[in-house]
């Protein structure tokens, strides 16, 4: 769960990390009011859940309230990497003598926390890391290990923080590390940490990503107004519909409706369609052990998509059960009806029960099943993939 800059800075402030005193504006008029009150040059910063904001023109420096209104109006018209600008963070302008980088993240390959620092902060930090790795300082920690001031002092020294600011920088680094652990973060970054002309250190930006799976144990975040949010850019109406239904779904530009079981084969099944010359119309994941209602909704999304010419169905019951799967498909057929050709394969846990449910339903109402070609474990999934591509070609004619 990625936080907005202003949310990250709220956490920074609570942790004692110095940030500028910022204010939010949700409209150009609000921006005007804030700047009129402040009576000093400010930065208007678009709040979006993506990087590259600066390069996309998402930050404007303005000297007065009228200018602020004009620039804010422009900013609110921007969409940065698919994210429309809905809020601005307005901060007093400050001078920059030097920019540092500080970050904490997880080294998954080595199961450690890593603190990273550099004397060359800013947007080109990754380039620095690649071209001049010696300019990047790293220190790894076990998850249970505290960071001490001396660890942080060493980092501050190595990235070239002026000696007389060493203890202040160390306090920032220790706080950042504690914050990382306290909120179950996946990433916290201060980029840049700025040294101002007044010889003060300040976090000029924040990037905080928390572990969605651990948010449940941080009710204090909700108290700060920080809640789970959709982190993608703008969604298509179908993606919005899927999100409301709790189904991970992504529109693609092909013609085959993908109705696979499990995230793993959800990804690889798409490759298979490509290998056989087709193009998927979507990504979709049923989640673990889907109930019949959810299965039915997944099919609705595909059947109602005009781009879909044929549906590829695959279910290998594991944590999910074939009986529930069969019930879901039948629920869809009865309540909604299938208008596209569909080829599917079903096997795995409870397959006998699933097949029985299918057969009984088909015997009762055979016309519901007329577009479905049904297979079991005897048919390799490659054949199903091929057949889906054929059906889509036929349907496309």
């Amino acid at each position: 769960m990625r936080l907005y800059e202003f949310e990250g800075k709220q956490l920074f402030k609570k942790a004692g990390i110095p940030v500028a005193e910022g204010q939010l504006a949700a409209s150009a008029e609000e921006a005007y009011d804030v700047v009129a009150r402040l009576e000093q040059p400010v930065a208007l910063k678009a709040q979006v859940l993506t990087g590259g904001r600066g390069k996309a023109g998402g930050i404007r420096l303005v000297d007065g309230a009228n200018e602020a209104r004009t620039e804010a109006t422009e900013l609110f018209g921007l969409t940065i990497k698919g994210f429309p600008v809905r809020k601005l963070l307005i901060e007093p302008k400050f001078s920059v003598k030097q920019e540092y980088y500080l970050g904490v993240t997880i080294d998954r390959a080595n199961y450690k926390l890593v603190v990273i620092g550099s004397g060359e902060g800013g947007v080109d930090i990754e380039e620095t890391a690649e071209k001049s790795p010696e300019k990047i300082v790293r220190k790894t920690f076990s998850i249970g290990e505290p960071m001490y001031t001396f660890d942080a002092l060493a980092i501050a020294r190595k990235i070239g923080i002026p000696q007389d600011l060493g203890k202040k920088a160390a306090a920032i680094i220790v706080s950042l590390f504690k914050l990382f652990k306290q909120y179950d973060a996946k990433l916290v970054e201060i980029n840049p940490l700025v040294l101002t002309d007044e010889h003060e250190l300040m976090a000029a930006d924040s990037r905080v990503s928390l572990d969605d799976d651990a948010v449940f144990r941080h009710p204090e975040l909700a108290d700060l107004g920080i809640e789970k949010r959709h982190e993608e850019g703008e969604m298509t109406p179908r993606e919005q519909q899927a999100t409301e239904w709790g189904i991970p779904y992504l529109d693609l530009d092909g013609t085959i409706g993908m109705f696979p079981g499990g995230a793993g084969f959800g990804i690889m099944g798409n490759d298979f369609i490509h290998y056989y010359g087709g193009k998927p119309a979507n990504f979709m994941d049923s989640g673990g052990g889907p109930k019949p209602e959810r299965i039915a909704k997944m099919l609705v999304l595909l059947d109602e998509n005009p781009n879909v010419k044929a549906i590829f169905g695959a279910r290998f019951g594991g944590i999910s059960r074939c009986d529930d799967f069969a019930k879901g498909v039948i629920m869809f057929l009865k309540d909604h009806g299938l208008s596209k050709p569909m080829v599917m394969r079903m096997t795995g846990n409870m397959w006998q029960e699933g097949v029985k449910i299918f057969e009984e339903a088909k015997e009762a109402e055979p016309e519901l099943f007329k577009h479905i070609e049904f297979h079991g474990i005897e048919t390799p999934i490659e054949e199903i993939s091929k057949r889906a591509v054929e059906l889509a070609r036929e349907g496309g004619n």
Partner: protein
């Protein structure tokens, strides 16, 4: 022989009294898995599927000699349950639940390394040594005893690979679900090296996917192995995933696309496969 579990493994189920715990315990027993007991704190003294339930893993081990555990518990109980199992002396632990907090898994991994315990998961379908033991949620129908090992991040891919090996009569020695979570109890490299030491395993199929770092970290192990490794990586036609900030790029290097991962694995000596049917073809060519 097999890796990690066989018919002699004495298996306990943590969370045996829960819905999924009970359901899958009965399935595992039906398969012939040697389930010796279960643990649910506060439910000691009960019985599930004719197996005794204990309050602590320690007591279960004392009474039943259990050496392997499967966890079926809500995600936020996993950290403590896993640490309990590891400290009590469980040598192999299967973590079925998904959505385990990442920091929790780092604690679990640290404890596991300290005690020499192998952990797979979270978010794994489990592990099966066909004909001997089935731990987790894998569907029996896909598997039969044989000579190829598999290790995969995805449950469904495991089933399709096994299904293919079953149909072509190679069968499986052991199939390991590495798990789908971002931080896993074991890496590809660690499981591959276990297969390397197993006499019964004549080849290994490893199935990775776009994202993460565990495929890249397996190359060194593959280059050292005598047992042939076949590799599939899902997501060749998927859009690139998201980066974890600058720090992610600095720590984990370039974003591993499926194509790059597959190339790296092939460079290390793995035999790349595109679809499942490439697997028996490759095995045939290798004379496995």
């Amino acid at each position: 022989m097999a890796i990690l579990v066989d018919k002699n493994s004495k298996v306990l189920v943590q969370g045996i009294t829960g819905g999924a715990g009970t359901f899958h315990t009965e399935r595992m027993i039906a398969y012939g898995t040697n389930i010796v007991g279960g643990v649910t704190p506060g439910k000691g003294g009960q019985t599930v599927a004719e197996r005794p339930v204990f309050d602590t893993v320690e007591e279960c081990i004392e009474q039943t000699g259990a050496d392997v555990s499967v966890i079926f518990l809500p995600a936020h109980f996993v950290k403590e349950a896993a640490i309990e199992a590891i400290r009590a002396g469980i040598r192999f632990l299967v973590v079925i639940p998904e959505h385990i907090p990442i920091h929790d898994m780092l604690y679990v991994r640290e404890e596991a390394v300290k005690h020499g315990t192998t952990v797979i998961g979270g978010n794994t379908a489990g592990i099966i040594t066909p004909g001997e033991a089935n731990l987790g949620i894998m569907p029996d129908i896909a598997f039969k005893p044989g000579r190829v090992g598999t290790v995969s991040r995805s449950g469904s891919i495991t089933y399709y690979v096994a299904d293919t090996l079953t149909r072509t009569d190679y069968g499986q020695s052991t199939c390991v679900g590495l798990g789908g979570d971002p931080v896993l109890g074991s890496t590809f490299a660690e499981i591959l090296l276990k297969f390397e030491e197993d006499d019964k395993t004549k080849a290994v199929v490893m199935c990775g996917e776009i994202g993460g770092v565990y495929e890249e970290k397996a190359t060194e192990a593959i280059s050292r192995m005598k047992t042939p490794v076949l590799a599939m990586v899902g997501g060749v036609f998927a859009p690139p995933g998201k980066r974890m900030g600058h720090a992610g790029a600095i720590v984990e290097g370039k974003m591993g696309t499926a194509k790059e991962k597959l190339e790296m694995l092939a460079d290390a000596g793995a035999h790349a496969c595109k679809t499942f049917k490439d697997i028996p073809e490759t095995l045939g060519r290798l004379g496995v």
